[in-house]
């Protein structure tokens, strides 16, 4: 401790900027970690809390995926011996059309029984007109709002509120306002209560419920009841406590959460390099100081602890800063994640407030400090090894010793071999990830040697371009590989990530566009809501005939897609009119015979599954799978595996007749319209809209609009990762700044000589810039190389564990080309300040003898 105060503090004070930069590395790393995790948690938490608040005293919920089920299930559940009370629920999310309010979660309940589970405390306004329960039930336009929502938007009892329904926009009458309570805080207060039967009609749900909420009879345990109900309702249903929905939501976001984890860890990893870099430099710079301490009797142990102590303090301060910063930006991140989740998964949620859990913060703090200490381990070890006699002599200590290089080479070669073995052996997930990790370690081991090699290679080039400045910039890199290599490594890692993500994004785009071009070829799509993934409202099948009758329409196909739980995972079921689809949209299966696939599917004798589902669930062609449905379990063979990106967790395609039979559901999510030749798309679109004007809420998208919409969602998905990439690059740039500030200190004398010898400011700057650009260039080369490897692994991970997408390996040349100026520009920016300080230092001091 006393050493820290006497030795470290003055050093930190002397190198304020460098200390700040070092700390900034950790701040950024921890901040990204905290922000991403907090935002993610907040979104999940908000969802769970909404579920929780809405659940009230509900102990179990009966659902059938998100398909809903026939009303008579309610009687079965109510008749169960362990059930005290069971009430039906419908949930729908509608757009309020109020600026800044977003969507409103409508809970359709049966008021005559529901109060056993939920508390509805109503508050009558001053002008209480009707708050008669009979009126509420009798009038389908009745709605009850929360006090929060009503006050914010100046609604009172009797106010009218327009909402989109299947029958177009309708005005609802506020017949009650709920007092603030647990329930009213669900969905950020944007909650409304409607009679369940009115909700069925309003949202085109037919005679179906989304869910049954129930409480268990005294004397029965929840587990008993769960067991009883499972037997009663069959495998097509899920019987879970309300918290189960939160888990399902999380499962659905699996791919997304994994991305968040990878990139937030990555940010920390890069922060670690900044710390390592700083400490490696500090140790070499303070060699003589360490030598003196050793000469004065400090043990190796004490020296090691001195540096570890410094890193712990830096880590602590940086992590604290990161926590604050992270929590501050978490709100914005949460908003964007929320939007993304709504758009990608169609699950609306309202992360009203961002709440950082103590565990997360404590964890992040610990990780930050640990990262910092780990990063300082090697430098601290080097410091402890300092020989007191040699340390006090002047000499070159920055150069890598031949022995060390050899050791690195050897280690790298061995690990590379192991990594390749891991890859070829394949199979187990652990082996695969170990191989990935080893590949990264190899690249880190080699990065000093490689950056040295590259610096030597570019020296003639730089010298040719700028005989003095260029040669000296290259020499600076060559002379101090330790100073340079950590920055290069940090840059390499972040670029490798950029390349991999870009490659993945590109491959995804290619695949998605391919899929869209084959699978989504109708001219028009008719949807009940603006958002194609929202499934709050359904169309009746009778509309198919009406649409077919519209002039210009050649063919109408009905599609119903729902998310169900298959093998404990939420997957998408898409019911299609197979025989019609076969004629318009013939897909070539990845596995299986196209003719047989369509024939068996149309006949209801087989199922088509998406490639990603097959991959994630290890399904094979011909395998008989069990798809649970409310009216029984479908046991059919897989007759074809096709590319389909409707859902990240996978898709099961079946014939509409099969779906109708097992779900007893003939509603439609989307009508696919093919036009007669000669018919103009805009004309027909207009006719469809006119046909339903005032009767139904209908959204018509052209083929291009739908594809654009999907691509926009895809963009959004990747935009989040690009933010993280930006942070990674920023951290890498911090590394460059750090390296350069050290470099100009080291080169102070040299730069002084240059100035004495007639170097103008511009020339001095140029040598610093060239050094930065060289770091950037080497980082680019190594980054691209590692990126090429990384991309392979990322695609494998996506394929195996995230989305099951079979993506083509394609090096993202355009991104790489764009990265060159970006990184060189960033390196240049990083060099501006160091260059200025190099130019403006005192010449006399620079030349003073040490």
């Amino acid at each position: 401790m006393i050493l820290l105060r006497l030795i470290s503090w003055p050093y930190f004070r002397k190198h304020v900027l460098r200390t700040m930069l070092t700390t900034a590395g950790i701040v950024l790393g921890v901040a990204v970690f905290v922000a991403m995790r907090t935002a993610n948690q907040s979104v999940l938490f908000a969802f769970s809390r909404t579920v929780d608040r809405i659940a009230g005293k509900t102990e179990l919920q009966v659902t059938a995926g998100e398909t809903g089920f026939d009303e008579d299930i309610l009687e079965i559940v109510q008749a169960a011996s362990s059930v005290r009370v069971a009430v039906p629920v419908i949930e729908a999310v509608v757009d309020t059309n109020i600026k800044g309010e977003g969507s409103l979660l409508i809970l359709g309940v049966d008021m005559t029984g529901d109060r056993s589970l939920r508390e509805y405390d109503l508050e009558s306004g001053e002008e209480a007109v009707i708050d008669d329960p009979l009126v509420f039930l009798a009038q389908p336009d009745s709605i009850i709002l929360t006090k929060e929502f009503a006050e914010k938007n100046r609604f009172a009892v009797g106010s009218r509120l327009p909402l989109g329904t299947v029958e177009g926009e309708k005005r609802f009458t506020v017949r009650g306002i709920m007092k603030s309570s647990g329930l009213t805080s669900a969905f950020g207060g944007n909650l409304a209560i409607m009679d369940i039967y009115a909700a069925q009609k309003t949202f085109g749900r037919g005679r179906k419920f989304d869910r049954i909420d129930l409480a268990v009879k005294p004397g029965h345990t929840i587990a008993e009841s769960e067991q009883e109900l499972r037997t009663l309702v069959g495998p097509g249903f899920q019987v879970d406590p309300p918290s189960g929905r939160g888990q399902q939501f999380e499962a659905m976001l699996g791919a997304y959460s994994m991305m968040v984890s990878i990139s937030s860890l990555f940010a920390l990893f890069i922060g670690m390099f900044i710390i390592y870099n700083s400490f490696a430099i500090a140790v070499t710079e303070r060699r003589s100081e360490v030598g003196i301490l050793r000469a004065l009797g400090a043990t190796r142990r004490q020296i090691r602890w001195l540096f570890l102590g410094e890193s712990a303090v830096t880590g602590l301060i940086g992590s604290l800063g990161g926590l604050v910063f992270g929590v501050l930006v978490a709100r914005a991140v949460a908003a964007s994640i929320g939007g993304l989740i709504t758009d990608v998964y169609g699950v609306a949620q309202h992360a009203g407030e961002v709440t950082a859990s103590f565990a997360l913060l404590a964890g992040a703090l610990a990780i930050g400090v640990a990262t910092s200490i780990v990063a300082a381990l090697i430098p601290a070890q080097n410091a402890a090894r300092v020989d007191p006699v040699r340390a006090l002599q002047k000499g070159k200590y920055q150069v890598l010793s031949a022995g060390e290089s050899r050791a690195r080479m050897l280690a790298a070669a061995i690990l590379a071999a192991v990594s390749i073995v891991c890859l070829t052996v394949g199979g187990s997930r652990v082996v695969f990830y170990a191989g990935y990790l080893l590949a990264v370690v190899v690249s880190l081991l080699l990065s000093p040697l490689l950056s040295l090699g590259f610096a030597r290679m570019i020296r003639p080039l730089l010298k040719w371009a700028r005989p003095v400045e260029g040669a000296l910039a290259a020499d600076s890199l060559i002379q101090a590989p330790r100073r340079t290599s950590a920055s290069v490594a940090a840059l390499m890692l972040s670029l490798a990530m950029v390349v991999a993500f870009a490659g993945m994004a590109r491959a995804s785009y290619t695949s998605i566009i391919d899929w869209m071009n084959t699978a989504l070829n109708p001219d028009l799509f008719v949807l009940p809501s603006q958002n194609i993934v929202t499934r709050s409202m359904w169309f009746p099948p009778a509309m198919a005939t009406e649409l077919a009758a519209i002039p210009g329409v050649a063919r109408v196909q009905m599609v119903r897609d729902v998310r169900i739980v298959f093998r404990r995972t939420p997957v998408m079921v898409i019911a299609i009119e197979t025989s019609s689809v076969q004629q318009t949209t013939r897909r070539t299966p990845v596995e299986g015979d196209a003719d047989e696939m369509y024939r068996a599917t149309a006949a209801g004798q087989g199922l088509m599954v998406s490639d990603n589902l097959a991959q994630l669930q290890h399904l094979r062609l011909g395998e008989v799978i069990e798809v649970p449905a409310p009216l029984g379990v479908i046991r059919l063979p897989i007759v074809g595996i096709v590319i389909d990106y409707s859902d990240q967790q996978g898709t099961i395609l079946m014939d509409r007749s099969l779906f109708e039979r097992y779900w007893h559901d003939d509603s439609v999510n989307v009508f696919r319209l093919y036009l007669k030749s000669g018919a103009q798309v805009p004309d027909v679109k207009q006719r469809v809209l006119e046909r339903y004007a005032g009767q139904r809420q209908v959204f018509v998208l052209t083929n291009g609009e739908l594809k654009g919409y999907i691509l926009r969602i895809t963009d959004q998905w990747f935009s989040l990762t690009s933010v993280q990439i930006a942070v990674a690059v920023l951290v890498a740039i911090l590394g460059i700044v750090n390296t350069l500030t050290v470099s100009i200190t080291d080169r102070r004398r040299e730069l002084g000589v240059l100035r004495v010898a007639g170097g103008l400011h511009g020339q001095i700057r140029r040598t610093i810039w060239l050094e930065a650009l060289s770091i950037g260039a080497i980082g680019l080369v190594l980054g691209f190389a590692l990126g090429a490897i990384n991309l392979y692994y990322i695609l494998q991970i996506v394929h195996r564990d995230i989305a099951g997408m079979r993506l083509e390996y394609e090096f993202p040349v355009s991104v790489v080309v764009a990265l060159v100026p970006t990184i060189l520009g960033a390196a240049f920016l990083a060099a501006i300040w160091p260059a200025e300080s190099a130019v403006h230092g005192s010449l006399v001091e620079a030349l003073e003898y040490e």
Binding site: V753, G759, L760
Partner: protein
């Protein structure tokens, strides 16, 4: 011609140090002057001011009639690169560059074409009798050889003024006198003005004029005939 007009240089700090107090000097063209004095007498400061490496607190430095005060850093550098060559006690060669490159450095900085730079550097190294060491790195040379390279670098454009700060201070006696002989020889052949800061009496005695500084003041200014 070097003119110092009432030069005062103070270093601000917790303890104010007056390095030079109201020094006025004129060193005519072609003179070889030595400046001597004990440590801290201000002789290096004087040299730095003449070389434009530092700026006086008050007073004016004029080189060939041009006032240095008021010039920007780059303008100072231009004066320096055209008129002044520097020789240091610790040579200040760049360790990563070969002798040829070190000598060519100021020429490259002036933007000379590569071919000319190479030719001139070779010429200069021949001048300092290092024809066989051209491609060597400084660390491969002896101290005397390094100083020769440094001298060759200082001569790059045959500047009218050469400033040397303890050029023999880091060398053994024999080598030191060789270097001094070289400087004298060059002075004679090129006719440059040479100012040598030294505390080596043998060096000062070989100069035609010796200025003695003590506590920032000129206490003696001796011209001796050859």
């Amino acid at each position: 011609m070097i003119e110092l007009d009432h030069i005062t240089k103070r270093f601000e700090g917790q303890r104010q140090v007056t390095a030079l107090a109201d020094v006025s000097l004129v060193i005519p063209r072609g003179e070889m002057v030595s400046i001597i004095g004990p440590s801290g007498s201000g002789k290096s400061t004087l040299l730095n001011l003449v070389g434009g490496l530092d700026r006086p607190t008050s007073g004016q430095v004029r080189i060939d009639g041009a006032t240095l005060g008021g010039l920007s850093d780059d303008e100072l550098t231009r004066v320096r690169r055209d008129k002044i060559g520097f020789i240091f006690q610790f040579f200040n060669l760049l360790p990563t560059l070969s002798c040829l490159e070190n000598v060519g450095l100021p020429l490259h900085l002036r933007g000379w074409p590569r071919r000319n730079v190479d030719a001139r550097a070779r010429e200069l190294l021949t001048l300092v009798q290092l024809t066989d060491r051209m491609e060597h790195l400084p660390e491969e040379l002896s101290g005397g050889e390094r100083q020769r390279v440094a001298i060759a670098r200082a001569l790059s454009v045959y500047p009218p003024i050469i400033l040397a700060d303890e050029p023999t201070g880091n060398l053994d006696t024999q080598t030191g006198s060789d270097i001094l002989a070289l400087i004298r020889d060059l002075h004679a052949r090129l006719g440059s003005t040479v100012v040598i800061v030294t505390h080596d009496m043998s060096v000062s005695q070989s100069c035609s004029r010796t200025i003695v500084l003590r506590d920032g003041r000129v206490v003696e200014d001796v011209r001796r005939s050859k």
